[in-house]
């Protein structure tokens, strides 16, 4: 029996040719990989988080390798939404793959304004809202750490745009299902998770934290079990599509998320180590579907 599995995914109002996306912050603005990775094979690209104004990010060191993981404190360095639109988007949107723009802000207003700007721009297929950022007004707690704040941001962005709206959740919470439900009710078309776990590392020779910023976000294979658990919980808590992220290194990892019920996955840290891995993951998913006789991607969830 030779089936040719159908990998097309409908993530809410967003259609993807397949479920493998590149995660924000680990693929630059996409164009850095052009000519090296065949980006048109992928379901989509989530660009580095954009703010209204350019940001410098945190002082170095910004990176630390940990057991099976990576700590980063890039500090959301980005060129700002205007330069993204003028300098990066033209080449990116020319590609036959979904372009998803990740946004971040210090206030609900920032998010809303960003969404409003992006809503007017051609070549963007969806907005992903990164709510792991500190809410400067609310004393610096992350928007994503509280259902009310998460809901407020989501509603504000929802008002500002008719683009498909993905809200990306922070895993540093007691109950991910509360946040997931809150953003669903506030109008998200889909949720993606997880962002990084908050971690740190200490240099015992220098006797100080390794990262200049003290804390950083933990990503990579180390966090996969936590990510998968949260995706499993979120899938069972909401009725909108869930995009699984966290420690996906190979097709088998990606399949764990798809079997847990994720509609699609994002590959983050693995791309940094192995820039071609996303395409291999896609091939591996196709192989698995052939071998198990599953003809449609929607047949994967257990």
């Amino acid at each position: 029996m030779s089936i040719n599995p159908d990998l097309a995914v409908k993530t809410g109002p967003l259609n993807l040719k397949n479920p493998v996306l590149l995660a924000s912050g680990t693929c630059g603005y996409g164009i850095e990989l052009q000519g090296f990775v065949d980006l048109e094979k992928l379901g989509g690209i989530v660009v580095k988080g954009l703010s209204l104004e350019p940001r410098s990010g945190n002082p170095p060191p910004r990176l630390m390798e940990t057991p099976c993981g990576l700590l980063n404190s890039i500090g959301l360095e980005n060129v700002g939404v205007d330069r993204f639109i003028s300098d990066k988007l033209p080449a990116l949107s020319a590609l036959d793959t979904a372009v998803i723009v990740n946004i971040l802000g210090d206030s609900v207003r920032d998010y809303q304004e960003l969404a409003g700007i992006l809503d007017q721009v051609r070549g963007i297929d969806a907005i992903e809202v990164n709510i792991s950022c500190p809410n400067v007004r609310a004393g610096g707690a992350a928007f994503g750490s509280d259902p009310d704040m998460a809901s407020e941001v989501t509603a504000a962005v929802r008002k500002a745009t008719s683009l498909p709206l993905i809200v990306k959740l922070s895993p540093n919470v007691t109950d991910i299902t509360l946040i997931a439900r809150a953003v669903e009710h506030a109008g998200a078309d889909a949720i993606s998770l997880i962002n990084t776990l908050l971690g740190m590392s200490i240099d015992i020779k220098a006797r100080r934290p390794v990262l200049a910023n003290t804390f950083g976000g933990l990503s990579g294979p180390a966090i996969k079990p936590v990510a998968l658990r949260m995706v499993w919980q979120a899938v069972r808590a909401v009725n909108i599509p869930v995009i699984g992220i966290g420690g996906i290194q190979n097709a088998s990892d990606a399949l764990e998320f798809l079997l847990a019920g994720a509609a699609a996955v994002q590959v983050g840290t693995a791309t940094l180590v192995d820039p071609l891995v996303s395409v291999q993951i896609l091939e591996g998913i196709r192989m698995y579907m052939k071998e198990t006789g599953i003809s449609d991607i929607s047949g994967l969830p257990i």
């Binding site: 912050g25 680990t26 630059g28 170095p60 099976c68 990576l70 980063n72 990579g220 820039p275």
Partner: protein
């Protein structure tokens, strides 16, 4: 994008100094485009392993026939310790050539200044040096064993080589900057371009002295890297490209470097661990 990710055969691997090894990898596709000052990201894990997670950046130390790339590295942590256990006949994934490399100014003599393991890329630079351009090299290190091998490599090139060690066990006793002012005399009034690689404090001192002499100075910097190709923005060092483009206050070593003009770097904030 002219870099490639390939599996390269390890054809040589041996110790050349205390904790210092050279590693020869056959990777013709990468060798072809490689320029002095560029580097590769080397995956040290055996196939199937997931830790240590990240690749390690290593400068191209020399190139050879049949697609040979040679690296010189010092064992400083877990990754390099694991790497040093690999036998010839094994293979490694290698991504490169990455970064910009040195820009050789053919109109001026070159003054190559290397410190410790930082001499690695200068050997490639010296070997690829244009025949009719004058070249002087200054190599420094803590002690004789640290620089002996690199010094021998350079002595096989047309470079005139001067040595310095902290303990005086080889060459001048003192920092490379001591020799720098003396070397200036050899250029008989012509301004050389300085090409330098080494530990942060040394680069800082070299940059300051180059500025004092009003010399163009290129420095090859290090930073912790995850991707080596501009995806993560992790490899920031304080500085400015100096063009009018949006300036974040940081230079990204992997993509905009690793070689920068010394005056692009904000030395006062440069982390010198």
């Amino acid at each position: 994008m002219k870099y490639l990710d390939v599996r390269g055969l390890v054809v040589a691997h041996g110790q050349v100094g205390p904790g210092t090894h050279i590693l020869g990898i056959r990777a013709p596709e990468i060798r072809k485009g490689a320029k002095p000052g560029q580097f590769c990201m080397i995956d040290l894990k055996p196939p199937g392993a997931i830790d240590p997670l990240l690749r390690r950046p290593l400068s191209i130390h020399r190139v050879g026939p049949k697609g040979l790339l040679i690296f010189m590295y010092k064992v400083v942590g877990r990754g390099t310790a694991l790497l040093s256990q690999l036998s010839p006949g094994g293979s490694l994934r290698i991504l490169g050539p990455l970064g910009n490399g040195f820009r050789i100014d053919q109109s001026r003599p070159g003054l190559l200044i290397g410190g410790g393991i930082g001499t690695a890329p200068l050997v490639f630079l010296s070997e690829a040096w244009p025949k009719d351009v004058e070249q002087v090299a200054i190599i420094g290190g803590r002690t004789r064993a640290d620089i002996e091998y690199a010094a021998r490599c350079l002595e096989d090139t047309p470079s005139r080589v001067h040595l310095a060690t902290d303990d005086g066990s080889l060459g001048h006793k003192g920092p490379v900057t001591d020799l720098m002012s003396r070397a200036m005399e050899m250029f008989e009034g012509r301004s050389p371009v300085v090409y330098s690689c080494g530990p942060g404090p040394m680069l800082k001192a070299v940059a300051r002295m180059a500025a004092d002499f009003n010399l163009e100075c290129q420095v090859s910097l290090e930073a912790r890297m995850a991707c080596g190709m501009g995806l993560c923005l992790g490899c920031a060092v304080p500085g400015s490209r100096g063009d009018d483009s949006a300036d974040s206050g940081y230079l990204h070593v992997c993509r905009e470097g690793p070689v920068f003009r010394a005056d692009q770097v904000s030395w006062e904030d440069y982390p010198c661990p």
